[in-house]
């Protein structure tokens, strides 16, 4: 049934895109709505900026993950030494 669900969401996505394109087609023709189109463009620029910040956050979290793994190795070494002492 998941295949059928995937198929339905695939078809629905296409229908949704067509609906949006129809909306945008009207905007493109109505001079008064042109400003809306520009606003959407500007909003998308801002959203892209945020996605760039999100990408930087991923890199920082990745570095932090690696530091944690390094720390994990050190602490396991300490544990083994204490085990050996005991």
């Amino acid at each position: 049934s998941s295949d059928l669900e995937d198929l339905c969401s695939h078809i629905n996505t296409k229908i949704l895109t067509i609906k949006k394109t129809l909306q945008l087609r009207n905007m493109g023709q109505e001079p008064s709505l042109k400003s809306v189109l520009c606003k959407i463009g500007h909003e998308m620029f801002l959203a892209n900026e945020l996605l760039n910040k999100m990408e930087i956050e991923v890199e920082k979290q990745e570095r932090l993950k690696n530091s944690l793994k390094e720390m994990q190795k050190c602490i396991e070494r300490d544990y083994n030494e204490a085990q050996h002492l005991r």
Partner: protein
């Protein structure tokens, strides 16, 4: 097979409508529209942004799971090591060095 054919037919009809719409939009646009004035470009960019957002969310989620695994492993191993060291100190009749204030704070934090 009949059902499959119907789905394929529906998909190709939808693709045809989409391309026809996009062609109409491009035809009605002024010459050399800027990207912000071109609805088709905006729509394509929007879906690119959404898939990029989904990918970044998936990456953050995966990294967060690995970080939490490391944190809980570090926590448990440190606790066991500290217990073992204290047992060794007692066993060797070494004076148990009291935790410094900084160590106290760190231990409470953990």
């Amino acid at each position: 097979n009949k059902l499959l054919f119907q789905f394929q037919k529906a998909e190709s009809d939808l693709d045809y409508i989409q391309h026809k719409l996009e062609f109409e939009i491009m035809k009605n646009l002024p010459d050399n529209p800027s990207a912000e004035e071109n609805p088709v470009i905006l729509l394509k960019e929007l879906s690119v942004m959404k898939s990029r957002y989904r990918m970044l969310c998936a990456q953050l989620k995966e990294i967060s799971i690995e970080q939490r695994e490391s944190i809980s492993c570090i926590h448990a191993t440190l606790e066991n090591t500290m217990k073992m060291v204290q047992a060794l100190q007692q066993h060797a009749d070494l004076e148990l060095s009291p935790l410094s204030e900084e160590e106290q704070t760190a231990a409470q934090q953990l």
